[in-house]
Each structure stands twice: as structure tokens, then as C-alpha cells.
């Protein structure tokens, strides 16, 4: 089949946050081990559509190119995922690229995920230390507990879980699964636990865990296989306890 030698990309483009979206198609020569990013790079070197129209190169976000920075999340053939690990040979053609829909568009495939970082602020996703001075070793932590924390700490703020979540929309303020999971991570740490009540209070409030409808699709799309539903269940338990505590002690 001669088609084997070319790759067809169908890309949803948008020039500005409030302008109308449009589609463009590109045919590219097949290269071994190509992925979606390398194809976008090929378009930069020759920004001409299938209809032979010269256009501006496509704008997208990427950095690490090995699925650890979370930048390049987009919708590829209808599925939310990272473009850098989307190998061309494993994708049916034409390959359809769209930006995430739950975040404001910046341009083309690039979106603004500031909301995710703001949510981390909201829940105080950090460990409050006394200072950076040399006061010796950190806490002794059993390897098993460390391994559990490590799973959660691999979250790269990519937004796949939020894109897939039916409860997370552009115009509500649900923090989503990734933030809930970070609350669990920091509450699990011996030092982080000292601020666990504050985090729980926040996550019990507006846009918090109560908004989760338990649809469980978040966990299916997480590229890092983070046990999100486990985190949601755990934080659910912790918040219930906190609620009871508040009832009796306050």
C-alpha cells in the first residue's frame, strides 16, 4: 500500500483564545520511530497543508519528550494522552489532534492549565519545614510507605484525569482527582501530616471532594497509573473523620 509511506494528520487549530477553531490536514513522509511531536516538528520544517497551502507552523507545548513533564497533553484520535509517547505506527490514520477541552485555549494545541497549579496552592501541597539549614536527617520512613507515596508523587500535572472527568468543567471550581491525590500524598508524609487538618478542611469545602461523582474514569486515563480512586476513597474517609471531629470538638 503506497499510503503506508505517508502519514496524515488532521489538526484542530485556533489562532486566539476567543477566535473560531478550524481544521487543517497535513501529509508527511513516514519515518521510523516517529511520534506525534516529531511529526509536528516536521510540519515546522515545511508548514504546507495537504491542499498545498502554506500556513503558520502549528503551536503546541512540549519539553521533556519522554512523558515526565506533562506538557504535551492533547487529544489524539479522541483519547486524552501525551503526544510525545504517541507513536505513529501504533495509531490509525488520519491522526486527529485536538487541544484539551477543559482548559482555556492559548493557541492551536496549547492550553492554559494555570488552574491546576492554583489548586495545588489552595490545598497547601507542600511540606512546611523549619528552614533549609543543616539540621540532620529526614524522618525514618518504611520503604513500603515510601513506595506508596512515590506512586502519588509521580503526578506530572498533565490534566488527563481532569479532561476525562465528567464533574470537572470549565465553569465550575472542582479541583479534580489530581489535587485530591496530592492532598493524600502530603497528609501521608510524617511532616506533611502536621498540616493535614488544614488540607482536609479545604478539600471539604467548595469545589472539593464532595463534587466528585465517583465516575472513576480519571484513573483509567492517568498515564502514570496513579491510584486516583484509592486516593479519593482515602481522602473521603479522612474527611468524614474530620467532619465527626469537628462536630464533637468544635
Amino acid at each position: 500500500m503506497p499510503e503506508d509511506k505517508t502519514i496524515r494528520l488532521k489538526i484542530k487549530r485556533q489562532d486566539q483564545p476567543d477566535s473560531k477553531a478550524y481544521w487543517e490536514e497535513f501529509d508527511l513522509p513516514h519515518k521510523p520511530r516517529a511520534n506525534v511531536i516529531s511529526c509536528l516538528m516536521d510540519i515546522q520544517m515545511n508548514p504546507v497543508t495537504r491542499q498545498e497551502k502554506t500556513v503558520t507552523p502549528v503551536v503546541w507545548e512540549s519539553n521533556c519528550l519522554e512523558e515526565v513533564c506533562g506538557s504535551c497533553t492533547m487529544i489524539i484520535n479522541g483519547k486524552v494522552r501525551q503526544a510525545c509517547t504517541a507513536l505513529i505506527d501504533a495509531l490509525p490514520q488520519p491522526i486527529v489532534l485536538e487541544p484539551l477541552t477543559k482548559f482555556p485555549i492559548v493557541r492551536d494545541l496549547q492550553v492554559d492549565r494555570t488552574r491546576m497549579f492554583e489548586n495545588l496552592k489552595k490545598v497547601k501541597a507542600w511540606i512546611h519545614i523549619d528552614g533549609t539549614y543543616n539540621i540532620g536527617e529526614g524522618p525514618v520512613i518504611p520503604e513500603k510507605q515510601r513506595a506508596k507515596a512515590y506512586l502519588l508523587s509521580e503526578c506530572m500535572t498533565c490534566g488527563c484525569c481532569l479532561e476525562a472527568c465528567p464533574q470537572f468543567t470549565k465553569n465550575n471550581n472542582f479541583v479534580g482527582a489530581s489535587t485530591i491525590s496530592q492532598v493524600r500524598l502530603f497528609n501521608m508524609h510524617p511532616t506533611g501530616a502536621m498540616e493535614s487538618e488544614e488540607r482536609l478542611e479545604t478539600i471539604m469545602g467548595d469545589g472539593g471532594i464532595a463534587d466528585c461523582g465517583n465516575a472513576q474514569v480519571c484513573v483509567e486515563v492517568c498515564p502514570k497509573k496513579i491510584p486516583l480512586t484509592e486516593s479519593i476513597a482515602e481522602i473521603g474517609r479522612e474527611t468524614t473523620l474530620q467532619l465527626l471531629k469537628n462536630l464533637f470538638l468544635k
Binding site: D15, C69, R146
Partner: protein, 646 residues
């Protein structure tokens, strides 16, 4: 009147930039943190293997002094010794601090930090967090900085590009010209000092193990403003990477730290399934040639050996310049626990399961030992005076640098897991000196006439506008690729002067073609095209620094291998002989007969070579060319001697 708070601009939010920001905030300063992309997505997330600190939890007898010695030896003695020594002495405290910040470092059964082995040392000195140590370290610092951002001490300017420093009439840095990558606005920002923590320049080679923003542009911009650039020619080629179209993904040295073995079939073009090739027909060349360090020789040595095996001996796997990296003798459980993440990357990009079949890997451009020149102040007893404003200052007053973009810690070759250390170390170490610098200033940026800032801004607005109007036939992305190809073909593992000269001619041809570049996008919103042209311009200059430095340096040191100048170390040579030789020399001429045959002559050659070349290469921008000169290296603590890793 309330006391004036020091105010800084940090460019870059990788490990170095975040560590500096955290430290400065702790000292009550205000920081504007600038980055191309959200800092949490910085290149440092890519680091897999680990971070070195001689904590000696296994009773192997490791110590910061040994770490220091391994590091300067690994760097072929080209690094300033008090700095390296200070870093190695701080390393245990740094790793404990990162642990306190919540980094999920792997643990021992008792719950303490676990350590693994890495290249260039015989000790288990590398702390690690699964297979994503850099990501975990970066996140921990990112969280601390987010806390300060929450408290109002840090203002983040993400999606902003640093274009240049703003110098007052005395040449003192008072701020930076920044470019909002969404609105396209170009403006000036003011600060007591500007800190470049902009990472490595590997993208100048086009295909590397680095991230897309590791472009070296910020430091080159400083060079174009008159700052010294140092040791540019020392580019590390990592021995083990995975081929790819967009990126050469790294297979971390930790694969070898956890027992991975490198081999090729002994027979040329042996096309058997590697698992069916019996032991006796496998050539474990690193183990055979270096019985003591084996697969964990330093990277420069490993890359040269692979180069020799695949090009000179033509033993590459499938006739390609590839070798096997084999972990199949380890249990799947062990591999999952210790190396899970990096083996997943290999599986994801090649479709092969490295727990079952040997990986096919090859060398790729990885790291730059060189970078923008920075200063330091020794405390007189072989360590650093941490209060000195000289620490990490470039040759432009008030412009500082930290992390991979500086030059001083790794000499002619970096040891694995030492970079995460040097990045965090420099970020933290420079803090007190910066505060001092701000306090010592006679006049602050508030006193500098606003015309200084306005002029700098206007000049950049004009420059970017002129890039936007470029309408020639050349595609800048294609030129960038060609630039990389020139360097890959001529300025890599094996360097020859004729090829380096050829490369310089090709780079200057490319520089002429640059004038006919086309700006592929002339819109006003979130348009990367003008920046891309500016970056290409700087990378052409950087390519000249690297190549010119390589051409001038007529010796073989660390990653800079010129076969023509190989001193041909005798096979049975012992580096300690050289220490003895230097001793003896104090009492007069050393005779040939005092050492095994050929050794004295070799040591004389080595000594002469050091006299001429054990120097820092300095590139200064002059008349559109890098003007090369040399500076003394501080070797006051250990006697440089020939390296040997057998």
C-alpha cells in the same frame, strides 16, 4: 522607614533556579521567577538516576573527600578544586534537606536512605527516588517555591523569555529584558541582581537526550553582552541512549549501576538472537578492558570504547553503531523495583521488553561541562566562603549563574549523579552572597535612570520586530537541524583539527544563510516564530564557541578526545607513579631508569601537556568571533595525575 528588601530576578525554574529562589526567600528577599514554561515542567524532571552524596551508609569507607577526589579525577582535573570540595562536603546536608522536603527517596529496610552505584566511583554514593529522581527533586523545590508564591514573596512569570541583561552606564547588571510569549510584549524588569539558571545547551546539537528548551540561548546572550564563556568544547556524550526521531532518549547510567552489562557479539555481523549467543561469544569490552570499574567507567571512557568497538572494530549490533545493554540476568522483580520507570520508557519507545531482551543503545549528546564563566571565593582552607558576593557571579557585575549553565564543577567530564548535586548546591550556596551583594550596593536599581531600562527594551523591541520581518527563503527550523548535523558530524567523540576547521567554515556559511531566514508566522498572539529566530542566532554563536574551543585545544582531556594528541599511557602505568615523580622532581632531573621502561618519558609528556593545557578555556565575543584565551585552574588541593580506570 522599613528596611529595603533585596529583590532578585531568577531566570529558569529547574533545580538550580528553584533552589536559589527558595534560599533567597528564606532570607526575606523578593524574587521574580522567569521561565519559558511552568517551572514544574523544567528539564530537570528528566533526570532519572540519582544524586550523589558520600553518606556512607553501607560501611564502604566513602567520605566527602573521596567524593571530591573522584569528581576532580573524573573531570580530568580541569575543575577548580575548592569549589568541588565544598560541594562534596555540602552534599550530605543537601540530600538530607531534600529528604526533609518530602522527596520519596528509596529506603533501606530500616527506613533510612538507600544508595546505589554510579559511574566513576567504587562506592554506593547515589541516592535515588525510583527512576525519576530529578522529577522528585524538582517537585519538592517547586512546592517550596509555591509556598513562597502563596505568601507573596515570589512572582512567577511563566511563559516568559529572557532576552538579555540590562547594564547601566558602568556595565553593572540592573535588570533583564523579558518577552511575554503569549502577548508578545517586550518589557524590562528591575532587580538587585539577575541569576541565570537556564540549564544546558544540548539542543545546539539538534538531537540530544535533553529537553526542547535546553537551548543555551540565555548564556550565549550574556556572552554577546561581553560575559566570558568557559570550557565550551567540553560536551558530554552519554554512552547509552535510545534512537528516536525527535529525541534520543536516555537510558540512565543507573541501568549499569544495577548490574547492566555492555556487550557486542565477538563475530562481525552476527545476526543471531542475542539470547542465543553463548557467553564465550560475547565481547564484554568494558569489563575486559577495565576490570576494576567494568561497566561503570566514566562516561567519556565508555563512549570512546563504544565508538572504537562499533567504528574501528566494526562490531556494532546489526552492523549499526549500537551495542547491547543487558539486564536480562537480573530478576524481573528486582528490575521493576529499582529501574521500573526507565525500563518502561525503553519499552514504550521501542516495543521491546528490556527485562527479557538486551537493550540496543548508542551514545548521544547529553550535557555540557562548559558554560558561562562564574567566580568564587575560597575561604583559605580549601572550601568556599559562603558569604562572598563573588560566588557564582559572571564576569558582568550583578549577573549571576547557577546550575548546568555555569561551568565550574565537572571539569572535562562530569560523573553521573553529580549534576543534580551541583545544580542544587549552586542554587543554595549563592544565596547568602547575593544578599550581601544587594546590601553592599551603593546605588540600587531605583537610582538608575529609567532611560537605561527603556533603551534596553526599545532595542529589543526593534530587534524582534526586525526578525518578524525576515522574508527570505530559508526555513529556520531546517537551519537549526543543519547546524546540529554539522556539530554531530565534526565535534563529537573523536575530534580532528581538519574536521573542526571544516565545521567552522560550514557554520559561517550557515550564518550567511541565516540572513535569508523567513519568519514563518507574523501574527501577534502566542507566536513562537520570532523567538525561534533569535534562538537560532544565538545557537550559531554558541556552535562557534564550542568548535573554536575544540580546535584550539590541542590535547586529549576528558570528553575532549583528539587521537592525534593522545599521550599513549603505558599499559602497566600506575597513576601513583606520577605523584612520586613530582616528589622526586623537586630534587632534580628524574631519570628514565627510576621508573619502569617508558614511564618517565610518558610522565614528562603528561607534565608538559598539563603545563600548556590544564587551563580553563575562555571565549570572549570579539568582532563576531569567539576570541579564545586561557586561565589557570585551581589545583591547590590534590596533585593532578593521569587518569586510569582499569
Amino acid at each position: 522607614m522599613p528596611k529595603r528588601k533585596p529583590q532578585f530576578i531568577v531566570i529558569g525554574g529547574g533545580l538550580a533556579g528553584l533552589a536559589a529562589t527558595m534560599k533567597l526567600c528564606e532570607d526575606k528577599a523578593r524574587v521574580t521567577l522567569v521561565s519559558y514554561q511552568p517551572v514544574k515542567r523544567s528539564h530537570s524532571v528528566c533526570a532519572q538516576g540519582g544524586i550523589n552524596a558520600a553518606i556512607d551508609t553501607k560501611g564502604e569507607g566513602d567520605s566527602p573527600e573521596t567524593h571530591f577526589y573522584d569528581t576532580v579525577k573524573g573531570g580530568d582535573f580541569l575543575a577548580h578544586q575548592p569549589l568541588v570540595r565544598d560541594m562534596c562536603h555540602q552534599a550530605p546536608a543537601i540530600v538530607h534537606l531534600m529528604d526533609r522536603l518530602g522527596v520519596a527517596f528509596n529506603r533501606t529496610p530500616e527506613g533510612h536512605l538507600e544508595f546505589r552505584r554510579f559511574g566513576g566511583t567504587l562506592f554506593s554514593r547515589t541516592a535515588f527516588a525510583g527512576a525519576t529522581t530529578g522529577q522528585q527533586l524538582l517537585y519538592a523545590l517547586d512546592e517550596q517555591v509555591r509556598r513562597y508564591e502563596h505568601d507573596g514573596q515570589v512572582q512567577k512569570l511563566e511563559w516568559h523569555e529572557y532576552l538579555s541583561a540590562i547594564l547601566d552606564s558602568q556595565g553593572v547588571c540592573r535588570g533583564a529584558v523579558l518577552h511575554d510569549l503569549h502577548t508578545g510584549e517586550i518589557f524590562s524588569a528591575k532587580g538587585d541582581a539577575v541569576i541565570l539558571a537556564t540549564g544546558g545547551p544540548a539542543q545546539v546539537y539538534g538531537k540530544t537526550t535533553g529537553s526542547t528548551v535546553c537551548n543555551g540561548v540565555a548564556t550565549t546572550a550574556a556572552y554577546l553582552q561581553g560575559a566570558k564563556y568557559a570550557n565550551g568544547e567540553f560536551i558530554q556524550v552519554h554512552p547509552t541512549a535510545i534512537p528516536g526521531q525527535d529525541k534520543l532518549r536516555l537510558m540512565s547510567e543507573s541501568a549499569r549501576g544495577e548490574g547492566g552489562r555492555i556487550w557486542v557479539p565477538r563475530k562481525k555481523n552476527d545476526d543471531r538472537d542475542p539470547l542465543t549467543i553463548p557467553e564465550s561469544e560475547r565481547y564484554y569490552f568494558l569489563e575486559e578492558n577495565h576490570p576494576r570499574f567494568g561497566n561503570l567507567v566514566p562516561r567519556d571512557v565508555a563512549s570512546r570504547e563504544i565508538h572504537d568497538v562499533v567504528y574501528n572494530k566494526e562490531l556494532g549490533v546489526e552492523g549499526q553503531p549500537m551495542v547491547y545493554l543487558d539486564l536480562t540476568h537480573q530478576s524481573e522483580e528486582f528490575l521493576e523495583h529499582r529501574l521500573g520507570g526507565i525500563l518502561d520508557i525503553y519499552a514504550k519507545f521501542t516495543g521491546d521488553n528490556p527485562k527479557k531482551v538486551p537493550m540496543k543503545i548508542f551514545p548521544a549528546v547529553h550535557y555540557s561541562m562548559g558554560g558561562i564563566w562564574t567566580d568564587y571565593e575560597s575561604n583559605g582552607s580549601g572550601l568556599i566562603d559562603h558569604q562572598s558576593p563573588r560566588n557564582q557571579m559572571t564576569s558582568i557585575q550583578g549577573l549571576y549563574a547557577a546550575g548546568e549553565c555555569d561551568y565550574q564543577f565537572h571539569g572535562a567530564n562530569r560523573l553521573g549523579a553529580n549534576s543534580l548535586l551541583s545544580c542544587i548546591y549552586t542554587g543554595l550556596m549563592m544565596g547568602p552572597g547575593l544578599i550581601q551583594y544587594s546590601r553592599n550596593l551603593n546605588s540600587h536599581f531605583e537610582d538608575v535612570p529609567s532611560s537605561v531600562f527603556d533603551q534596553a527594551r526599545d532595542q529589543w523591541q526593534g530587534r524582534m520586530q526586525s526578525f518578524k520581518q525576515m522574508k527570505g527563503p530559508e526555513n529556520p527550523y531546517v537551519l537549526h537541524q543543519e547546524l546540529g548535523d554539522i556539530l554531530l558530524a565534526n565535534v563529537l567523540i573523536v575530534r580532528e583539527n581538519s574536521k573542526l576547521e571544516k565545521a567552522l567554515t560550514q557554520i559561517s556559511d550557515l550564518e550567511i544563510r541565516f540572513k535569508n531566514v523567513q519568519c514563518l508566522d507574523t501574527t501577534h498572539w502566542s507566536n513562537p516564530a520570532p523567538s525561534m529566530i533569535q534562538q537560532l542566532f544565538c545557537q550559531i554563536q554558541l556552535a562557534k564557541i564550542i568548535t573554536q574551543g575544540a580546535l584550539v585545544r590541542n590535547e586529549f582531556r576528558g570528553a575532549h578526545y583528539k587521537p592525534e594528541y593522545d599521550l599513549n599511557q603505558p599499559k602497566d602505568f600506575d597513576p601513583h607513579e606520577y605523584v612520586e615523580y613530582i616528589e622526586k622532581k623537586q630534587y632534580g632531573e628524574v631519570l628514565e631508569s627510576e621508573f619502569p621502561s617508558g614511564h618517565t618519558a610518558y610522565m614528562k609528556r603528561y607534565e608538559e601537556c598539563n603545563e600548556q593545557w590544564l587551563k580553563t578555556t575562555i571565549a570572549k565575543h570579539n568582532n563576531n568571533q569567539p576570541e579564545i584565551s586561557f586561565e589557570e585552574v585551581n589545583t591547590s588541593l590534590v596533585q593532578p595525575r593521569p587518569r586510569k580506570y582499569d
